[in-house]
Subunit: 275 residues, 2 copies
Amino acid sequence: MCELLGMSASVPTDICFSFTGLIQRGGSTGPHRDGWGIAFYEGKGYRSFHDPGASADSEIARFIQNYSIKSTNVICHIRKANRGRVCLENTHPFARELWGQTWSFAHNGQLKGIKKWPLTYYRPVGTSDSEHAFCWLLDQIRRRYPAPPSSQKSLWRFVEKQLRLIDDTGVFNVLLSDSKSLYCYCSTRLSWLTRKAPFGNAQLIDADLRVDFSRETQPDDIVSVVATQPLTSDEQWHGMEKGQMSVFQNGVSSYESLRLATSPSGRSRQRIKSC
Amino acid sequence: MCELLGMSASVPTDICFSFTGLIQRGGSTGPHRDGWGIAFYEGKGYRSFHDPGASADSEIARFIQNYSIKSTNVICHIRKANRGRVCLENTHPFARELWGQTWSFAHNGQLKGIKKWPLTYYRPVGTSDSEHAFCWLLDQIRRRYPAPPSSQKSLWRFVEKQLRLIDDTGVFNVLLSDSKSLYCYCSTRLSWLTRKAPFGNAQLIDADLRVDFSRETQPDDIVSVVATQPLTSDEQWHGMEKGQMSVFQNGVSSYESLRLATSPSGRSRQRIKSC
């Protein structure tokens, strides 16, 4: 399995603190030493850093840890390989362009039979089941919406439906972004918190590092962080429910949907909690 | 205008020496301070580093300069903006996936009216004429070859034809890679050299740095470097002719074609020099 970290922020914000915690789990405090990657959105711009080695030993990770890239959406992943060999092309996040936007995707879990699902527009470069699932997902979005839909909520609901279909094949904890929204889908395990005024202190679990956010922020800043497991020991993290999808925009949870039960017809029903 | 740097090598090779020379031209020995980017292929794997600032002042560039990423194909670009504002999404190289391969592209020059050329599969994320040209090019390849052609030479000829069509709209010096081949198209200015045994010394023009390649290489290594202008003062660089396309594979020039003249029908004729 792997670990995920995502951020959605109201203003360009660096993720150095959370990233410092996560990368320890890639070979030091955790076993996820089969590559890592981090993707930053700066407006429509996108850049990512990837390394097929262990993040805890990575010079690139150390550089990113100390180099403040300010971003509104971030997706990060440390890998413990199960399908697909350890190599650069199998490191997440994966990225593709749709509608002139860069979409990126990182996955924790395993999917059974997904590689047999047919693909049309997008093809995997590597051999992981995760990249195949991402290509299939973008294929469905592209087919349903050749151009971006006018209703964002329609898009979110459609994406949610596709994520649930993939989730039915295995374990599918996912972070996905289209540069504007951060989609978080919890198959088994994801936690999140929102930091906003009044800002306090936080202590990393995986490194001897403490930060006073009131010194790093402006009063209007809102930043949400999502991770496989809480990264700090003294903040209130919220566990997402199994089958929950949340969409964050500008640091705020803008859409949240739960899978309540399976109907007799075998189709899942969702309840929209808030928008 | 901008400057280009490309490398094709028989074995994974770092480009630290040439890159050190080029980045000086991004704000120190040259005016190309509107962003830069470098893309590395490691097998099918692809990673790139981008920065919208001047390369001569860039902490990421300094990191790459000292961090040896060994690659078989590299494309690098330093930007002096003419079309499209200075921002991350307008930094080259641009990348897209086709046939499960990552294609990347960097351009020096200006193109008139290219943004009116219709696009189908690929859309620009930024606003540069370069990215539009790249999307149009990949559209043509994808339409002509929905799957990779069995004949590599057919692909090279087809790509060449499309590059010439774009070149007819302005100035179009280009480096392009599909992870296997490095395509170099000279509209007005590109130089290249091949380093192989017996290896000698080289002195950068833009920095006080000298290297003895015999200490850095194995006897069978072959490395070709392509650049807008020669990067070293004491090696034999070859100027490409206007309208010349060369394809390098594993460090070796594998295809070379010249535009000799324009026929009465207005169509260009090419002469294949070597394969």
